[in-house]
Amino acid sequence: MKIQEADAKSLLLAHGLPVPPWELARSPAEVRAAAERFFAAGAARVVVKAQVLVGGRGKAGGVKLAGSADEAEAVGAAILGMEIKGITVRKVLVAEAAEIVREYYLGAILDRASRRIVVMASAEGGVEIEEVARTNPGAIHRLATHPFLGLQPWQARQLAYAVGLGGHVRDFVRIAGGLVATMRDRDADLVEVNPLAVVRGAPGPAGQATDQLVCLDAKITLDDSALSRHPDLEAMRDLDEEDPVDVEARSLGINYIHLDGSIGCMVNGAGLAMTTMDLVKRAGGEPANFLDIGGGAKAERVAAAMRLILADPKVQAILVNIFGGITRGDEVAHGLIEARSRQSREVPMVVRIVGTNAEEAARLLREARFETAASLDEAAATAVAIAAGGAMGGAA
C-alpha cells in the first residue's frame, strides 16, 4: 500500500529524522492561511505540492513555489482539482521552500535477489532513481544490510563518503539508520527520501554558513501482508485515490483490478488469472479486469465476484476459468448458477472448469444451460467471439 508524502514524512519524523515542518491544505483558503504562517515565521518562499500517489507530479505541474500569500492561494487553486495521471488532486502539502545547496537520493528497499534490505544512495538526487539506474547506473551506491544486524554505522559512513556527503557524515548515518528502522518497524517494502538535501540554514553568529541535511520528500510503500498488525498504518490508506470497486473487492477477499476491456474474467489463482487475461488479448479481445477468487472459494464468493464484474458497464462477455485444486468445481458452478439468477443484466458467459469435482460441475452447468469450453484457449476464443457478436447486436 502506498501512503501520501505527508504520512510518510510523519513516519520519518517519528523516527527522529530531520523533516522540515509542513501543513496540509484542502482549499485555496487553507493554502493561503498555511503560507501566511510560514511567511510570518520568516520563510522567503513556500512550496505547494499536490498529494497524490502517482509519480511525476512535478512534471505534471503539481509542485509550485510562491513568494506571497496571494501567490500561494492562486497556486493552491491551480493545483487543487487538477488531474494527475487520472487522479484528482484533493489536498496539497505546504512548506517553506528550502534554499537547496545540493540534492541527493537515499532509499531502502526490499531486495528480492539478495533477500536483504538494501540501502541505496546517489549524488544524483531530485530525479527519479529509475531514470538514474538507466542513464548512469554507476552513480547509485548500494549496500546490503544483514537481516539480524540491520544497517551498521560503518556501512552508512561508507555510503556517505561514496556520494560525497563526508561533511555531513554524522547526520547521514543517523538518517540512513532511521530509514532502515522505519522500514523494519513499519513493515515497509520501500522507504525513499528524494531529495535528501543539503539546505542553507540561517547564518551563524559569525555569519558562517550553517548547511543542514534534511529530508525534503518522502515515499513509503507498506507491505500489504503486514498491515493487519499495524492498524495505525491501515488508517493512512487513501480511499480518495482508490476505485470504489477495488475497495469493495478487498472487503470481500477477492483480488480485483479494473482494466479497460470488455471481457470480464473470473479465475482462481493469480498466475492463471494473468494468463487468462493474456489469452483473451491473444484471441483478439481486451480483458476488463484481473480477478482471482482465491483458493477454496465457496459459492457466495463466486456470486460476489460476478457482481463485481457486472458492475463494470463495459463488460460484454464473461470468461470463467477454474482449475480446481483446493477450489471445488461444483462449488463454483453453484455460485455461477446462483449469481445468474440474480444478475442485473444479461451478459453472455463462457465457463471452463477442470480439476477437482469437474464432472459434477459440468453436469450442473449443462442442466442450467451454460456455455462451456474444454480448454483455456477455446474458452478465450469463444468469449472474444461472443463479445464481438454482442457488440454488433447492440449496434443493430
Binding site: 533477500r115 500489504d224 498466475g271 480446481g324 483446493i326 477437482t356
Partner: protein, 295 residues
C-alpha cells in the same frame, strides 16, 4: 530420479491438525508419500490422519523419534516464519512453506536462518513439490495431473502450474519433479537454484520454467541456462503480458515497478538464452518436442 522430494523423503507436517494441514496430508498419504510425523504444539502424544501419523509438540521431538528429513508447513501466516526456523534448527533438510500472506520482513529472517542451517526452503506462498516417479507429493498440487517422466517443472504460480502440467500429461509428457517456488517477493529458493538442482539430477532430461511479471528472477535463470543448460531441451511461459504497471497482480511479488519486471523483458531474456516461450501453457508440450525432447 527427482529433486527435493523422492523415495527417501520422510515427511513431517507442521500444522497437521489444522483444516488445511489435515486435508492435504490425507491426499499426500494416498499418493504414496511417507508421512512420518506431525507437529502441533499442545497436541503431542496424539495421532492424526485416522491414527496413522504420530503428533509431536516440537519439531525436535518429531525428528528425534522418526528421523523426519523434510517438512511441509500449513501453519497460518503469523506463526509460519517461526515454524520455518524451528524446522531449520531441528536439522530438517527440505522445508516447504505453503502459507500465504506472510510479512516479507519476517521471511528475511526465516530465510537467513534456513540458509545458515543449510536447509533448502521452498516458498512461502507456494503449492509445494511433487515427484511422480517416486510417488512423493509434498504440498497441495493435485495428484491427478501428474505422470512420471523426465521433465522438471519450476513455477512461481499454483493453478497456472497445474494448467501447464495437465497439458504435458495430456500430451504424454511426464515429469521428474514439479516445484512451485512461490509468488512472494522474498522466497527461500529461486528459479536459478532449482535449475541447478535439475541440472545435477540425472533423471531430469528437459525443463519447463513458468514465470510471471515482477522482479528479475527469470532473467537470472535465463543467464544461468545460457551458461549451463545449452544442451537441455527447455520451454517457458511468462504470465502477465497484459498486466498494467504499478499494480500488484494477486501475488505479492507480481508487480511491474519503475518499468522493470515486465513480461516483455523476461521473454526477451529467455529467448536470448535460446529458450522458446509459449504464447499459451497448452503450447508447452509442442515447444518441448521442438526443442529436442524425446521422452
Amino acid at each position: 530420479m527427482s529433486i527435493l522430494v523422492g523415495r527417501e523423503t520422510r515427511l513431517l507436517v507442521q500444522g497437521i491438525t489444522g483444516r488445511e494441514g489435515e486435508f492435504h496430508s490425507r491426499q499426500s498419504l494416498e499418493y504414496g508419500t511417507r508421512i512420518v510425523a506431525g507437529v502441533t504444539p499442545g497436541k503431542g502424544g496424539r495421532r492424526a490422519l485416522d491414527g496413522r501419523v504420530p503428533v509431536f509438540d516440537t519439531v525436535a521431538d518429531a525428528v528425534a523419534a522418526t528421523g523426519a528429513n523434510a517438512s511441509v508447513i500449513y501453519v497460518p501466516a503469523p506463526g509460519a516464519p517461526d515454524a520455518v526456523m524451528e524446522a531449520a534448527e531441528a536439522g530438517i533438510a527440505t522445508i516447504v512453506c505453503i502459507t500465504e500472506g506472510i510479512p516479507a520482513l519476517d521471511m528475511l529472517t526465516a530465510v537467513e536462518v534456513a540458509r545458515d542451517r543449510g536447509a533448502t526452503l521452498i516458498g512461502p506462498n507456494c503449492p509445494g513439490a511433487t515427484s511422480p516417479g517416486s510417488q512423493a507429493k509434498v504440498g497441495i498440487i493435485p495428484a491427478s495431473i501428474h505422470r512420471p517422466g523426465g521433465v522438471g517443472v519450476v513455477s512461481r504460480s499454483g493453478t497456472l502450474t497445474y494448467e501447464a502440467v495437465q497439458a504435458m500429461t495430456d500430451a504424454g509428457i511426464g515429469q521428474s519433479t514439479c516445484v512451485g517456488i512461490g509468488g512472494d517477493p522474498i522466497i527461500g529458493t529461486t528459479f536459478t537454484e532449482i535449475l541447478r538442482l535439475f541440472h545435477d539430477d540425472p533423471e531430469t532430461e528437459a525443463i519447463v520454467l513458468i514465470g510471471e511479471i515482477g522482479g528479475a528472477a527469470e532473467e537470472e535463470a535465463a543467464a544461468f541456462a545460457a551458461e549451463h543448460l545449452r544442451g537441455t531441451p527447455m520451454a517457458a511461459f511468462i504470465a502477465g503480458r497484459t498486466a498494467p504497471s504499478g499494480r500488484r497482480m494477486g501475488h505479492a511479488g507480481a508487480i511491474i515497478s519503475g518499468g522493470s519486471g515486465t513480461a516483455a523483458d523476461k521473454i526477451a531474456a529467455l529467448e536470448a538464452a535460446g529458450i522458446r516461450v509459449a504464447g499459451s501453457p497448452t503450447e508447452l508440450p509442442r515447444l518441448l518436442r521442438e526443442s529436442g525432447y524425446r521422452g
